[in-house]
Amino acid sequence: MKVRVLIRLKPGVLDPQGRAVHHALEGLGFAGVADVRVGRLIELEVADGTDHAALTEMCEKLLANTVIENFTIETEGGK
């Protein structure tokens, strides 16, 4: 089964990378972009039936740094 883990900086954590991308978009002439935040997408292929608790543990132990990042787990065919 395919799993997508979306990792985002927590609200309130400054994102210098997002800010630089934002400036670059403005430099290219794209108007109306209010904010840019850069995150990370990790795709996993795991055994069917892998439970959500195990996926959560993977995120908390390694895939995300919960000091600065939130994560959401999307499994194929629903959450």
């Binding site: 400054l14 210098p16 630089a20 895939l63 740094n65 000091v67 600065i68």
Partner: protein, 234 residues
């Protein structure tokens, strides 16, 4: 400096991508007169009777995922965490600091520099803590000149954590001029028991006598000498 009969035993951990491990060993040897023990990341155990574990700078695992994240999961880090919990002093410099936060031995995280650029220059640091074994030979408020060389040195912790660190005297050093966006100018932090220090600046790159200040000066050497004298008098 003289050290008790059994000698000073320091281990320097090398991860794939460490590049300051030799410098760290040289600095420890210069301060102690004893060879540092080199330990590979894949080892499951540390040598016995260690006086210090040093995690060096570099780009362990190519900074994959996050700086220090993969190294924090390596076999040797389980042993380092266990040693720290027994009270063995641990020093993490630059990538070593990142590894210590990822291993949760120190609070907070090191994010991309606010200016997006890699910074490599000698910076002034203000000494905040003079109680720990790493810092007790410094004067509070003293300025040290130590090189930084990092892309991810922007210290972050939530406000409650920062208040706690400051309240408990666990900010070891601050940048006299904030070069990377670090919260409250923090350049180095201590664990609750004061025996784990993580810092972005590289003391091991500042161990030469003042006569060769172009090689980084000697302020970093004093940090290693502090460790030696603190342990010798313990």
């Amino acid at each position: 400096m003289a050290f008790p009969a059994n000698g000073f035993r320091a281990a320097v951990i090398t991860f794939p991508g460490s590049n300051c491990d030799r410098d760290m060993a040289v600095a420890l040897e210069a301060a102690s007169g004893q060879s540092a023990i080199r330990v590979w990341h894949g080892d499951a155990d540390l040598p016995e009777r260690l006086d210090l574990v040093a995690l060096p700078g570099g780009f362990s695992y190519g900074d994959y995922l996050r700086s220090g994240a993969m190294a924090a999961m390596s076999p040797i880090m389980r042993a380092v965490v266990a040693a720290a919990e027994r009270g063995v002093p641990v020093l993490g410099v630059c990538n070593g600091f990142q590894v210590l936060t990822e291993a949760r031995l120190l609070p907070g995280a090191l994010m991309r520099n606010a200016g997006q650029r890699f910074i490599c220059r000698t910076v002034p640091l203000t000494v905040e803590n003079t109680d720990s074994l790493f810092t007790r030979g410094f004067a509070r408020g003293e300025t040290l000149r130590i090189p930084v060389a990092h892309h991810d040195g922007n210290y972050y912790a939530d406000a409650d954590t920062l208040d706690r660190l400051e309240g408990e005297g666990r900010v070891a050093f601050r940048y006299a001029e904030n070069c990377n966006g670090s919260a409250r100018d923090i350049a180095g932090v201590l664990s609750a028991n004061g025996r784990v220090l993580g810092m972005m600046p590289h003391p091991e790159r500042a161990i030469e006598p003042a006569a060769v200040a172009s090689l980084g000066g000697a302020d970093g050497r004093r940090l290693f000498e502090n460790i030696l004298s603190a342990l010798a008098s313990a």
